[in-house]
């Protein structure tokens, strides 16, 4: 096979694939970064702007947004009468939980009056993986699993566990983070409506027994002990120009506790308040000490709900109507700050308990500076009466695990195996000297046994099994997350990729990119394994490497691809994600060669086909991830060893599959895959010319063959000076 014609074929496939993927889809209209009318987030008539009938089939009319968080009721005409047939909720009215992109998946959810999911529609998402690679229909199919399920059910990603009453959902391969976030959104949204309309019963919590030590507390003490808390929102947090003045600065506290209540309202005021509220009801005060925004809301109407503040305890949300509001005319505690707005809110639900932690939530809208669109956002702060304020101290509260913790727990065995693999490969490589000394040019099995095992495990277990193929898209995503919104939880949700990157970062600085690229990258391993298999089955005579002159020109292409992607990502992450299809990883591992349209399959299959005849063509010339890792490899701590004679000897360079050794015998660690072939020769006394020469000389002279030192030469024989004759 002629090298350049083969490359030309691959280039054609790449061009065809690029043209295909950059062309707009013919029919399918995707929700990727779909433009939603700004009214979606604020208009009372939600269903005028979103297709509510799609998620609540049969509904002919809808109410305006009601409740907090808001939802709408859907009605059908039956015998001339309006009948409630369900509810519709916009997910971003309930939670702004971000998915992998760092932005929420805007979902419209329909519920039956009995609390079962009736319909789900993705209105907008920013998930790069669903732009290409995995079809958007996969998310629709994932959502379909909720249809008919009860909003109060225990639903998780993974296997069903009937013994624990847990319903499992099939994840989307390669989009685990997205579906975990989506599950959280679905269950929170369903529960938010369910609790308001009585489908879900509120949790009953034991009431607090307050410890009254009769102290007269000043403001500073209240704050220091945590009995009064502060919630500050800065203008930039809601998309307004930065200012030293807060958007709103609130202080709040729980008034049922005698010491807190007396300190804030005075003895008489507090007793009057306690007399006004019934047993099992709770009072809290709120004052505004900074900012011009009203926490009561400028649009509040009589009989309505205060839509800017609420409490959350566990899954229960408590909102306030006009009857739940009392005036607070002053704060008695010495040292209290001056304030320009105040209120006492009453929680009239037995579900609330002052003994347990709760969150005070300020609900706001973030304004997108570019589009002017408003999106829902909430700011909260936890409040929990200090132990000393409660008889017997704080009760034990078992908080549910965060989603990423659940992932780590449920996949603990696989995570353990994967971590063991990474540690084992690093340990084997750290002991490379012992392995290369046991190997010879003709028998490299002491090294290859480990390397080939790593390849096979990497392809089967890591690539096809765990779908843990690192990609340049992750580098781009992290880069953007660093700039815009870094969330550890997001990255921890995919434990394999998370661990893999820790391994990659550490080993790149210690040894260079070769340990990952040459030993553990699933696609790289598959590529070189195909080359080795090709040679083993008699295709050696068709195998080739590009002339060094062409290699030295083409190796720069991968750097251009990397910088190109980085530059494009600054302007359009979506386009960068599309162009990142230059990596055939999604096609090979995440989606499957036969599950994609033909240009992708042709491109990936072409690269793998070429790999049979040329060693790692993608890694050498195209891989943007390889380029990104090659650059810091310039400053790896420990390189491979060379001898002075390597400047004229070509023995290693001829056998270097990575073409990383130049005509002067120098190794370019940016290109080296750490196959260790040259290190095997380095100590092979029959294959390394300087060593072989010395071996022959010593044998001829009858001198001992001393062990080979770290410098690659026999340890010199130093004649011992004859002992001086005794006088």
């Amino acid at each position: 096979m002629k090298p350049l014609s083969a490359l030309r074929g691959i280039a054609m496939a790449a061009i065809l694939a690029t043209v295909s993927l950059l062309s707009p889809p013919a029919a399918a209209q995707t929700a990727y970064e779909a433009k939603l009318p700004p009214e979606v987030n604020t208009a009372p008539a939600l269903c005028d702007y979103v297709p509510c009938t799609d998620v609540l089939p049969g509904a002919t009319s809808f109410s305006e947004r009601k409740g907090q968080p808001p939802y709408v009721e859907g009605y059908a005409e039956e015998n001339g009468q309006r009948k409630l047939i369900g509810y519709v909720v916009l997910s971003t009215d309930v939670t702004d939980t971000p998915a992998y992109s760092g932005k929420p998946v805007v979902t419209l959810i329909g519920l039956t009056p009995q609390g079962h999911f009736a319909g789900i529609k993705i209105l907008k998402h920013s998930e790069p993986i669903l732009l290409l690679g995995i079809p958007e229909s996969a998310l629709t199919k994932f959502n379909d699993q909720y249809l008919g399920q009860f909003v109060g059910a225990n639903i998780e990603i993974g296997r069903s566990r009937p013994e624990e009453d847990m319903i499992g959902l099939d994840a989307i391969s390669g989009a685990t983070v997205t579906v975990i976030a989506q599950n959280q959104v679905m269950m929170m949204s369903g529960a938010a409506v369910g609790r308001q309309v009585g489908i879900l019963e509120a949790t009953v919590r034991p009431q607090a027994n307050f410890a009254d030590r009769g102290r007269k507390l000043d403001w500073a003490t209240l704050v220091k002990e945590g009995a009064v808390q502060r919630l500050t929102v800065m203008p930039e947090q809601v998309g307004l120009p930065r200012s030293s003045e807060p958007f709103i600065d609130l202080w709040y506290g729980y008034l049922n506790h005698p010491e807190v209540g007396r300190a804030i309202m005075g003895e008489t005021g507090w007793r009057d308040l306690m007399a006004r509220i019934k047993e099992g009801e709770h009072a809290l005060f709120v004052i505004r000490t900074g900012g011009n925004e009203s926490f009561k809301g400028s649009g509040f109407v009589r009989g309505g709900i205060y839509d800017r503040v609420q409490l959350r305890q566990g899954q229960d949300v408590f909102t306030f109507r006009d009857l739940d509001y009392y005036n607070l005319y002053g704060v008695s505690a010495p040292g209290a700050p001056s304030f320009n707005e105040s209120a006492i809110f009453i929680v009239r639900s037995p579900a609330f308990s002052g003994a347990f932690p709760w969150k005070f939530i300020f609900l706001g809208n973030r304004i997108d500076r570019e589009t002017g669109a408003r999106t829902f956002v909430n700011f909260d702060r936890e409040y929990w009466l200090p132990s000393a304020y409660l008889e017997g101290g704080r009760p034990v509260v078992k908080k549910p695990d965060a989603p990423w913790v659940r992932v780590w727990k449920t996949r603990a065995v696989e995570i353990g195996l994967f971590a063991a693999l990474l540690i084992a490969v690093a340990a084997v490589y750290a002991n490379r000297d012992a392995l290369t000394r046991r190997s010879t040019r003709k028998n490299k099995w002491p090294v290859n046994a480990f390397k080939y095992s790593a390849w096979i495990i990497s392809i089967g277990f890591v690539g096809f099994g765990l779908l843990a193929q690192p990609s340049i898209t992750q580098v781009l995503t992290w880069f953007h997350s660093l700039l815009f919104q870094w969330q550890w939880e997001l990255f921890l949700t995919d434990p394999f990729i998370f661990l893999f990157w820790i391994f990659i970062i550490l080993t790149v600085f210690v040894w260079g990119r070769g340990l990952f690229c040459g030993w553990l990258c699933p696609f790289g391993s598959l590529s070189e394994l195909l080359y080795k298999v090709g040679r083993a089955i008699g295709l050696k005579r068709f195998q080739f490497a590009l002339p060094m002159k062409w290699h030295n020109r083409l190796k720069w292409v991968k750097y251009a691809v990397f910088f190109g992607l980085l530059a494009v990502s600054m302007f359009s992450m979506g386009l960068a994600e599309k162009l990142a299809e230059v990596e055939p990883f999604k096609t090979t591992f995440l989606v499957g060669l036969f599950n994609r349209s033909w240009p992708y399959t042709l491109f990936a299959a072409g690269l793998l086909g070429l790999s049979i005849f040329m060693e790692r063509p993608f890694c050498k010339y195209l891989c943007p991830l390889g380029a990104a890792l090659a650059m810091p490899s310039t400053f790896r701590w420990f390189g491979l060893r060379r001898k002075q004679e390597c400047d004229s000897c070509k023995a290693c360079a001829v056998g270097c599959g990575s073409l990383a050794i130049d005509e002067k015998g120098r190794i370019d660690h940016r290109e080296c895959m750490l196959c260790l072939d040259c290190m095997v020769l380095y100590t092979d006394e029959h294959a390394c010319p300087p060593l072989a020469q010395e071996r022959k000389r010593r044998t001829k002279a009858g001198l001992a063959l001393t062990p080979i030192g770290k410098d690659g030469y026999y340890i010199p024989i130093k004649p011992v000076a004859p002992a001086a004759p005794r006088a």
């Binding site: 930065r242 660093l482 700039l483 310039t634 400053f635 420990f638 060379r642 015998g665 660690h669 940016r670």
Partner: protein, 141 residues
């Protein structure tokens, strides 16, 4: 005769041979100050332009700290300066460290070596400054 144990020929920066502490300080200075007397003697225009561009990039950071510059503009300035820093350093301090960072082996920098060095160094400096400004609430996203 070429030394195959090192990718480009070994060189010694002016501060080579000093004690560990003075070498560390000199290296920190090297990372932050790309110009040299020798560079000015050989390519006065490039070095002077580099100084002007560095001053402009510094002003861009100050404007960012005052809230008058968007993240995209800061990144643009920093990237632009980084490209020019490669040119400046190739004329003034054309060497990079080889091997362990705590060692004292230096070698002549090729263009790619310098791109890697400046790219990596400025990514760290830029990220640190950016995160510092962000955590202080001086840059808005």
């Amino acid at each position: 005769m070429v030394d195959p144990r090192i990718l480009t020929e070994a060189v010694e920066p002016p501060y080579a041979g000093g004690g560990a502490a003075s070498r560390l300080l000199s290296e920190i200075w090297d990372h932050l100050w790309p110009w040299s007397r020798n560079g000015f003697q050989h390519q006065r225009f490039v070095q002077a332009t580099g100084l002007a561009l560095a001053a402009a990039a510094s002003v861009a950071w100050v404007l960012a700290a005052m809230g008058d510059m968007t993240p995209g503009a800061i990144i643009g300035w920093w990237f632009g300066w980084s490209v020019f820093e490669v040119v400046v350093r190739l004329g003034s301090k054309p060497y990079v460290k080889d091997g362990p960072w705590w060692g004292s082996r230096y070698r002549r920098a090729s263009v790619m070596d310098m791109i890697c060095y400046v790219g990596f160094k400025n990514l760290l400096i830029g990220a640190t400054l950016f995160l510092a400004l962000k955590s202080l609430g001086l840059v808005q996203i």
